[in-house]
């Protein structure tokens, strides 16, 4: 723990980073009015900057930009892993990073010292504090659920009245191509994360010769914590205990933190910049094994208009023909896709027929890499898409029926996608509104109908989310399998499920390789726990899970026909 800011080190970093960044990236876009707002915020109240976390580069890039714009350098709470790196660890420390353990376990002293440290920095207001709401780098390209521990510490100075107000500044860092893309895909398939080491960093220098496109760093509007808390949190709860005694947040504070965390992640998402390749990846993954270049171009352009209607900010190059945009994007992704005879296919696609488990994993790496880019746009579509799916599943024109199905889907997927807690109705309204805005659905009297041209949109949107729904189904059904052991841990569940799923893919029973992603498996398991189908027990050996078969059966039923209760007709998904 502890940072020791040394300007000489910062300058050294700034110098080398500028060199490295120039080699790696094409361009770095920054919204300057956001920087001005940040500057103002820093002068007013203590500031917490909350960048999205997609890559190691995130915090280096942010410090570099703030250094360049003459802002006070943030003090960064980063995972302990970095500290293991010789020299570089020390240098990071001297450039303002301080290190925390990934998990505190029961170490109360560590927690107390650490939280006091963060709070002192905030109270004194010398420097902004920076940490990652998502806790870790998102391997999937989707935002992760916010972690509340650090957020709680950071907000305590306000909650305890030690500062009048503070600002949370969401920062969205969007990469056209993520440095760790293949690493992530491997990790998702269970290959453990390599330890951060200086020699590793040196070895990684070969990536310097590659082109990683451009980066967009968007500094969001500073959010005043006071305005978030007014009328929601009763700060007088903090009156009865000396303020230096660490405490667990009370229930309403916890709920508040949860809402704030979700809100800020959503703000990060909102300001993410989407590259053309993301649109292409979305199209490609829906058309596996491959599609023609012209078809890709047509569908990508179509998707672009829809995405823009839905409010996505897309970094589509101006004054360049669409064809060129597509081709150059494809060129940048030669590690994921390739063009054979005018057919765009995934790299691993060329050795057909001969299916082995190993092959499947190899192919899944490509799928997951491609999916990780598609995932970057899912937040734009998730609400309207769930409405669209609800529409198809219920085969009903009644708003209430659709809403019922929507709310169930949202509930099941709420570990997968970030929804603001307690915002169900608004989410539904927003989804429906967007579908109507794009002309896919129209309302006559009180009934909702799919318009003629809307069919394409509706089915495109639902297909976009099929990998998740299908994947969840497979995972949900797995514990009902006769060979399944009653007691299990998360680890054993994932290991066992992986073999099971690989075989299913081998036999062709499921088409969507994404189900092999440990991320999806974990989220689905969390959903089962949330829905009460799996119960957690704390034992001496750690946390043991137990299946509640009855509830699970019901959950599967609810999801399986994807039709709530009466209408048993099979949907066309």
């Amino acid at each position: 723990m502890g940072h020791s800011l040394r300007l000489s080190i910062v300058r050294f970093f700034a110098f080398t980073l500028s060199k490295i960044f120039k080699m790696l990236f094409h361009k770095v876009h920054v919204n300057e009015e956001g920087i001005q707002k940040l500057q103002q915020a820093i002068q007013e109240y203590p500031v917490v900057v909350l960048p999205s976390h997609r890559s190691y580069i995130d915090f280096l890039m942010l410090s570099y930009i703030m250094y360049t714009y003459d802002l006070s350098l943030p003090v960064i709470a980063a995972g302990m892993d970095f500290m293991g790196m010789k020299i570089v660890g020390e240098m990071l420390r001297m450039s303002g990073a301080f290190f925390i353990r990934r998990s505190f376990g029961g170490d109360k002293l560590y927690w107390a010292v650490f939280s006091e440290y963060v709070k002192t920095i905030l109270r004194n207001g010398d420097a902004p504090v920076e940490f990652f709401l998502e806790g870790t780098r998102s391997r999937t390209g989707k935002s992760l659920m916010p972690k509340l521990g650090l957020l709680n510490i950071a907000m305590e100075p306000f909650l305890m009245g030690e500062v009048f107000d503070m600002y949370l500044v969401p920062i969205s860092i969007s990469y056209e191509r993520i440095l760790e893309e293949s690493l992530y895909a491997h990790e998702l398939l269970g290959v453990p994360k390599p330890k951060e080491s200086t020699s590793g960093l040196l070895k990684a220098r070969k990536i310097l010769s590659e082109n990683f496109g451009s980066i967009h760093v968007y500094f969001g509007q500073p959010v005043s914590v006071r305005s978030l808390a007014t009328g929601i949190v009763r700060r007088s709860h903090y009156n009865l205990l000396p303020r230096h005694i660490p405490r667990k947040p009370s229930e309403d504070v916890h709920r508040f933190l949860d809402a704030v965390g979700h809100k800020l992640v959503l703000l990060q998402q909102k300001n993410m910049v989407i590259s053309p390749w993301v649109l292409m990846a979305t199209v490609i993954i829906q058309n596996l094994p491959g599609l023609t270049l012209t078809e890709l171009t047509r569908q990508t352009l179509w998707l672009r208009t829809i995405a823009e209607v839905f409010g996505a900010s897309i970094d589509w190059p101006e004054n360049v023909t669409p064809d060129k945009v597509i081709r150059s994007s494809l060129a940048l992704r030669h590690n994921i896709v390739k063009t054979i005879k005018n057919q765009v296919v995934l790299c691993q696609e060329d050795t057909p027929a001969e299916f082995t488990v190993e092959m499947i994993f190899k192919r899944t790496v490509s799928v997951l890499m491609c999916a990780s880019y598609r995932n970057q746009i899912l937040h734009v579509f998730v609400r309207p898409a769930l409405v669209a799916i609800a529409f198809q599943n219920t085969q009903s024109c009644k708003r209430e029926d659709i809403f019922g199905c929507f709310s169930y889907l949202r509930e099941v997927l709420s570990d997968e996608f970030v929804f603001l807690p307690g915002n169900l109705v608004k989410d539904f309204d927003e989804g429906l509104y967007l579908l109507m805005k794009s002309g896919a659905i129209h309302m006559s009297q009180a009934d909702l109908h799919i318009s003629e041209k809307g069919n394409t949109t509706i089915s495109f949107l639902s297909v976009m989310f099929v990998p998740f729904l299908e994947g969840y189904q497979v995972i949900f059904k797995y514990p009902l399998h006769p060979e399944f052991a009653d007691d299990f841990t998360e680890k054993s569940f994932i290991a066992a499920f992986r073999t099971y799923a690989a075989e299913l893919i081998l036999t062709g029973a499921i088409k969507y390789n994404e189900v092999l992603s440990t991320d999806m498996q974990k989220n689905a398991l969390a959903a089962l726990i949330r829905l009460g189908a799996v119960e957690k027990f704390k034992t001496a050996e750690g946390i043991i899970c137990k299946v509640n078969k009855q509830t699970l059966g019901r959950v599967v039923d609810m999801l399986a026909p994807r039709i709530p209760v009466k209408n048993a007709a099979v949907a066309r998904l």
């Binding site: 009245g161 700060r235 007088s236």
Partner: protein, 638 residues
């Protein structure tokens, strides 16, 4: 100990001399020169409606007559002859002869008002010059009127008398008077002159189901005197101002038995004639009454030596609809279940009328000395006060003003008489700002008042200054200290001046643990400024605070808040909203609902949160038993 022993004969001698003076007109006193109990004559029976106490007994020498309006303002604070004005030259002036500041020219006042509020002498409000006596008709049925007459206790249905007892001194109350807005006012004003009068009145009220609102000094700042607008019964304002005698003084036990209507200044003046004082000096002591102090849990400036009202009170007599409540002895401390006096103290007139109080007295201090300390900033000032409290060496009074109040103090500096003093002032300023490097926009001042024997005072003074030095404080002279305390009496007058120039303001207070003092002060001030901006106040408000009392575990903080309301259509509701949100900020920052102003009706809505549902229930059940028909229906507290 030794000094105390030496002091006693001296005090006794003084007492004898004074007693001699007093006894001259009185016929019935014994010939013994030094009785242990010095009693005024004719105390036991009540001289109700005796024509001006013609028998020659020293008639009650209260300074507040039945027609208070003869000496007090009907539309603002304090004496009619004392007020701030701007003379023809545009210089500030304080009129009258009563205060040290009276008759002085205050050259810096105008500039300060312009600078702090954006006020200008050209923009003046036009308030009423006479009270609006167009009141709702007095509700009083024949039968009740007849019984009332039979009591033979003076009462009045005169509109002016009624109007004057319909309010305290909250901003909106004074504002309404100036505008001539009248809502519910008392129907009858009655002046009992002793305990048994009160008993009769309360019996009559119970018989006719009449609402009684006790009225003491009328200095409430919690809406406690506001008549509930939906009260359909007759409202009787029970004015205790004529119950103002000291019944006896017991110098063996150092207690005095006093009627509850006596004002602070009368009590101290009369006790001083015997060589005693209570030492209870709330800022309102000129007008507020002993009964009022008991009913609101008052606190005095010099509580460090003498204690707050709950420490001073030995015995209380209160008349309730159920009967008279009191304890049977005057033991200094009792373990007889929850202290019933604590139901009375802070009951805010909801249970009954406090009629007589036995209060501790002390010999007048031999030596008094003022002092002041300048600190580079508020933080070091608070740190010093905390240390003084930790070492329990606080002088009679120690107060820390923030920079804004320090500058305000400067605005009230009278014109200096000689070139020499102005040169000296300049030199002092130079020393502090240039030589010591204090930022004039950051520095703040602590004022001190020491009391006791000469050696003790000097010793304590050194001790406090030594502590102050550790926190960067510089001694800044007696004069600044004395002016600081004088200002506390005068400052109440300044709001009336402000209201003439579109400035409305109020003070409010809280108590808070030491570790939160700084945070609370900063956050509340910032909240006031922020809210003003949000609510469309066009000028920066005055938001300032001082730490006025130190305790072992915390401090009392006093805020002044005022702004220029030009350009706002409904200034009162804006003010009330901001005041309420400031109170919420105080509560969220660990401050109490009130340190000594009380709850009244103004802060009622937060009481539940402050003392829990069960707590409110406990109070309710007491009310239920003592006053089931809600005779004392001012609806304060609950």
């Amino acid at each position: 100990m030794a000094s105390e022993e030496r002091e006693q004969p001296r005090a006794r001698q003084r007492l004898r001399v004074m007693a001699g003076h007093l006894r001259r007109p009185g016929p019935g006193t014994g010939t013994e020169p030094a009785t242990t109990t010095t009693a005024q004559p004719a105390l036991s029976q009540c001289p109700a409606l005796q024509p001006a106490a013609a028998d020659g007994a020293p008639k009650a020498t209260g300074s507040i007559p039945r027609r208070r309006q003869e000496i007090l303002k009907w539309n603002g604070w304090g004496y009619r002859d004392s007020k701030f004005t701007f003379n023809k030259k545009g210089q500030g002036e304080f009129t009258g002869k009563r205060y040290r500041l009276s008759g002085m020219i205050l050259p810096a006042l105008k500039e300060w008002m312009e600078k702090s509020f954006g006020a200008s002498l050209e923009h003046k409000t036009t308030p009423r010059t006479t009270p609006n006596l167009d009141l709702p008709l007095s509700i009083l049925n024949e039968e009740c009127l007849k019984d009332l007459k039979d009591l033979n206790i003076p009462f009045s249905q005169d509109p002016e008398d009624r109007l004057i007892r319909s309010h305290g001194h909250c901003l909106h109350e004074i504002f309404a008077l100036r505008e001539g807005k009248v809502e519910r006012v008392p129907d009858v004003v009655i002046w009992p002159s002793c305990h048994s009068d009160v008993v009769k009145i309360v019996q009559l009220a119970s018989k006719h189901n009449v609402c009684i609102i006790p009225f003491g000094g009328g200095t409430s700042v919690s809406d406690a005197l506001v008549c509930p607008t939906d009260e359909k019964r007759t409202i009787v304002s029970l004015d205790t101002s004529q119950m103002n005698r000291i019944m006896w003084i017991d110098d063996k036990n150092l207690t005095a038995h006093v009627e509850a209507g006596i004002t602070g200044q009368d009590l101290e003046r009369q006790l001083s004639e015997y060589g005693y004082c209570t030492g209870h000096e709330p800022d309102s002591m000129e007008f507020s009454s002993l009964g009022g102090w008991v009913a609101t849990r008052a606190s005095g400036m010099k509580k460090n030596i003498y204690g707050n009202i709950e420490d001073l009170v030995v015995h209380i007599k209160m008349v309730t609809p159920r009967g008279v409540v009191e304890k049977s002895c005057q033991g200094p401390r009792m373990s007889t279940g929850p202290d019933i006096y604590h139901f009375i103290m802070g009951s805010e007139g909801t249970l009954g009328v406090v009629t007589e109080v036995t209060i501790k007295i002390r010999s007048l201090p031999e030596y008094q000395k003022y002092g002041s300390i300048v600190f580079p900033d508020f933080e070091s000032g608070v740190a010093c006060l905390r240390e003084v409290a930790r070492q329990r060496c606080a002088p009679a009074s120690i107060r820390l003003m923030d920079n804004t109040q320090f500058q305000f103090g400067h605005a009230l500096k009278p014109q200096v008489a000689s070139i020499f003093t102005s040169f000296l002032d300049g030199l002092k300023k130079f020393y502090i700002t240039k030589f010591k490097g204090f930022d004039p926009n950051e520095l703040c001042v602590t004022t001190l008042l020491f009391e006791g024997t000469r050696e003790k005072v000097l010793q304590q003074e050194k001790h406090v200054y030594d502590i102050a030095a550790k926190f960067g404080g510089l001694a800044a002279g007696e004069d600044n200290g004395q002016r600081g305390y004088m200002l506390t009496f005068v400052i109440a007058y300044i709001r009336d001046l402000g209201m003439d120039y579109y400035i409305i303001g109020e003070s409010f207070e809280t108590s808070v643990p030491w570790d939160r003092v700084l945070d609370l002060c900063r956050n509340v001030k910032e909240k006031l400024v922020k809210d003003c901006k949000e609510k469309g106040v066009q000028f920066l408000p005055l938001a300032t605070c001082r730490v006025t009392q130190t305790y072992d575990a915390g401090a009392c903080v006093y805020f002044y808040f005022a702004f220029n309301y030009r350009g706002i259509s409904d200034p009162l509701s804006v003010f009330e909203q901001i005041e309420a949100s400031a109170r919420e900020e105080i509560l969220e920052n660990g401050g109490s609902l009130s340190h000594h102003h009380g709850v009244g009706k103004l802060r009622k809505r937060w009481l539940k949160e402050s003392i829990s549902d069960v707590g409110v229930g406990m109070l309710k059940s007491v009310k239920e038993y003592v006053d089931p028909n809600n005779i004392f229906g001012n609806r304060n507290l609950l």
